[in-house]
């Protein structure tokens, strides 16, 4: 299994601690970029937590991803303030520039994954997107191209 050493370190850090499953899965996701079937099974075997429980938790929370994701994550804020400031046009422009259809969220070259999030808490700068850990505000569809270029 890929990343076995890293996952073992993560498991050892949390094993036996109460309420450790979510932080453990967050850690595992940070390592591989998503939660693969293989990793979830391995965690289940090593910790004794039932696979059904792990899968249940992983599918309940929106931050857990069960599919590989792109190198850069674009989070498009769809909060109220962004919605009334036309966040939809920003989303359309991003999908347009990255040639993503409405069913796809990751570009073919694996460079970007686009997702919408409920609120990034930067409402005064609406509409806002976050690329990896960087937030960009007061956007117009015209400003998208320049931002995406930085991550190509």
């Amino acid at each position: 299994m890929k990343y076995k050493t890293e996952i073992d370190i993560a498991i050892n850090k949390f094993i036996g601690k109460k309420g450790a499953l979510i932080p453990l899965l967050q850690n595992a996701q940070d390592i591989e970029g998503y939660l693969s079937k293989e990793i979830m099974s391995y965690i289940s075997e090593t910790t004794g937590i039932k696979l059904a429980h792990i899968y249940g938790v992983a599918t309940f929370y929106t931050m857990f991803r069960l599919k590989p994701q792109g190198k850069h994550i674009i989070r498009v804020c769809k909060g109220t303030a962004c919605h009334v400031s036309n966040a939809n046009s920003i989303m359309n422009e991003i999908n347009n520039q990255l040639n993503l259809s409405s069913e796809e969220d990751t570009t073919k070259d694996g460079n970007f994954t686009v997702m919408s999030v409920a609120c990034l808490g930067c409402c005064s700068l609406a509409p806002v997107i976050m690329v990896d850990d960087n937030t960009y505000g007061k956007l117009t569809p015209d400003s998208i191209g320049k931002i995406l270029k930085k991550y190509e």
Partner: protein, 589 residues
């Protein structure tokens, strides 16, 4: 006397480019050998003019500049050093005439007392502002009962939204007989349009931690959790640093102030589920389970985390505690109305001029909050409605602008105070679309446990979608109301019980707009794409080709200097042509 330069580096500031400004300042003072201390601070609440830079030699004679850029910050510093400060973009100043700030004048800052003033990751800054002296006072001079009584007498109510009296909540946890108790801070600020808790955690994490320690001491808890959204990386980072510092200084850990009181504090990162803002769901999530709400009773005060008595309060509630202990319940109760004491922090957003964070005494009218403190509307378009309380709240029209801001007055309108999000809308917002937006949100976030919430919100969303596409029937409005009542009754937790509020309030106050969608098949605000059409006005089109170039689906044709034409079948109604046309030659209708 050396110069002090403070830069606001909270998430909002950073997004506006404050990081670059900070670097430019360091470069400028190094290059010109200026004797200055450059300090980092967080958000003072005036997000609309970020990046903000405060500059002074004596703290009482300071100037705060807004919209600062890496290019102009050098001039600002040089001019100030020479005693001739730049007079443009002054936001707050007590030395320049005419820049007295209305935004601040009507505010009373208790929760935000240190935000944007201190360096949030410096415990010494916090200690200088009487930090941890409330903890010392409560542990050395007060009994546990006295602390709880003080909070009760202050009239403080839970700032997370529901407004349950905090002192009473503490009393229940105190009364529970158990050797092990927990205290939890709910920092899972999930309401879209609300960012009060983020700002407090980023800007003054110690105030929340101090409030929690006082609470833990009062109820007899020895372990605590802060459950924070993972979408707030900076808040989590500041909390981690603050916990480490407080432990080092002995405010956390064993034998605090030499007593037998021990307290250990952990941070739990959320994983993205709105329902986890509900206290029983939040506890399930801390335990590592799916965050689904449980039936109450038993209440957390009897059986909470891992079956032990647990007290849960919101970030803003905890941030009030130290102030109340230091200044007294009476002083706190001076602010506010009969049943809602103290102040409330609001996040102003949407089409308002001064968007950002404000803290006002309860009892102020919505009109004063929006027009005096918030500076009124951002554009020429008139006010249409204000959305309070996020997905659990409602939209209030212009006729209700004189409603007083307190828990009970707002509840009467059908909206709720909620955690304090206030999104102002002008005539470019469609109320059917807003109701649909919130329903879509709650429908996505419903955990699926209760049938009414799971299926009922889905049916409501289908009806709203139908109406927004011009396929609605008048009976749909009755069905929406009936479903709303049933969902309210048939749901276990706050998410389901309040999910219909956005629909009910818009139906009550903006019914005409629904009827326009159903009967006239039009969207008066021009938002619902199925009901709008873009057309080129032949007389005005000069054939500049800009619209054709902007169109993402190439559905606009026409030769240069000839009238252009939109192919209605291919048009996706994105509005790009409408925004691009400089000759008002495109009609939206």
């Amino acid at each position: 006397m050396s110069l002090v330069i403070k830069v606001g580096l909270a998430s909002c500031g950073l997004a506006a480019g404050a990081g670059e400004v900070y670097d430019a300042i360091l470069k400028h003072i190094k290059k010109n050998k200026i004797d200055a201390e450059v300090k980092k601070t967080a958000c003072i609440g005036m997000c609309f003019v970020e990046p903000l830079v405060e500059i002074y030699k004596e703290e009482k004679k300071s100037i705060t500049y807004g919209d600062v850029t890496p290019e102009n910050v050098g001039d600002i510093i040089d001019a100030f050093s020479k005693g001739k400060p730049v007079e443009e973009n002054v936001i707050i100043s007590n030395i320049l005439k005419g820049s007295e700030n209305k935004t601040f004048k009507k505010q009373k800052r208790i929760v935000l007392r240190n935000c944007g003033i201190i360096d949030p990751v410096s415990i010494n800054d916090y200690l200088e502002k009487d930090g941890y002296s409330a903890l010392e006072k409560s542990m050395k001079n007060m009994s546990r009962e006295e602390i709880i009584d003080e909070i009760k007498n202050s009239g403080l109510r839970g700032r997370g939204g529901a407004g349950f009296p905090t002192g009473l909540k503490w009393q229940f946890a105190y009364n529970a007989q158990n050797e092990k108790k927990y205290i939890v801070c709910n920092a899972d600020e999930g309401d879209p349009g609300a960012f009060m808790d983020r700002s407090v955690l980023e800007g003054d994490p110690h105030s929340v931690i101090e409030g929690m320690i006082i609470g833990a001491y009062a109820i007899g808890a020895d372990e605590g959790y802060i459950y924070c959204r993972a979408e707030y990386p900076l808040a989590i980072k500041h909390l981690e640093i603050a916990i480490e510092q407080a432990t080092e200084k002995g405010y956390l850990g064993n034998k605090i102030f030499g007593t037998d009181f021990n307290f250990e504090l952990h941070i739990k990162k959320g994983a993205g589920a709105f329902v986890c803002g509900e206290e029983t769901a939040l506890m399930a999530s801390i335990e590592g389970k799916r965050g689904m709400p449980a039936i109450r009773p038993p209440f957390p005060a009897q059986s909470g985390l891992w079956g032990k008595p647990t007290n849960i309060n919101n970030v803003e509630t905890f941030a009030n505690i130290a102030w109340i202990i230091l200044n007294g319940a009476k002083e706190y109760a001076k602010y506010g109305t009969e049943k809602s004491k103290g102040t409330k922090v609001f996040a102003l957003a949407g089409k308002i001029k001064n968007s950002g964070l404000i803290e006002v005494p309860m009892g102020m009218s919505l009109r004063d909050v929006i027009y005096d403190v918030g500076g009124g509307m951002k554009t020429e378009r008139p006010f249409k409605g204000v959305q309070l309380g996020g997905p659990s709240g409602g939209c209030l029209p212009v006729e209700l602008l004189d409603t007083i801001v307190d828990y009970d007055s707002i509840n009467k309108t059908g909206a709720i105070m909620g955690s304090g999000g206030m999104v102002v809308m002008d005539t470019s917002s469609c109320m059917v679309d807003i109701a649909k937006f919130f329903l879509n949100f709650t429908q996505n976030e419903s955990c699926g446990k209760c049938t009414f919430c799971r299926v009922g919100t889905k049916r409501m969303l289908e009806i709203l979608t139908r109406i927004s596409e011009g396929k609605g029937k008048m009976e749909d409005l009755d069905t929406l109301e009936e479903l709303s009542e049933n969902i309210k009754k048939g749901s276990l937790c706050g998410l389901g019980q309040t999910a219909p509020n956005p629909v009910l309030t818009t139906l009550k106050y903006f019914r005409k707009e629904y009827i326009a969608h159903i009967k006239d098949k039009t969207c008066p605000a021009g938002v619902c794409t199925a009901l709008i059409k873009y057309e080129i006005i032949e007389d005005k089109c000069i054939g500049c080709t800009v619209c054709a170039m902007k169109c993402p689906v190439n559905c606009i044709s026409g030769e240069r200097k000839q009238v252009h034409y939109i192919d209605q079948n291919a048009c996706i109604k994105c509005g790009a042509c409408y925004d691009a046309c400089k000759f008002d030659a495109i009609k939206k209708g």
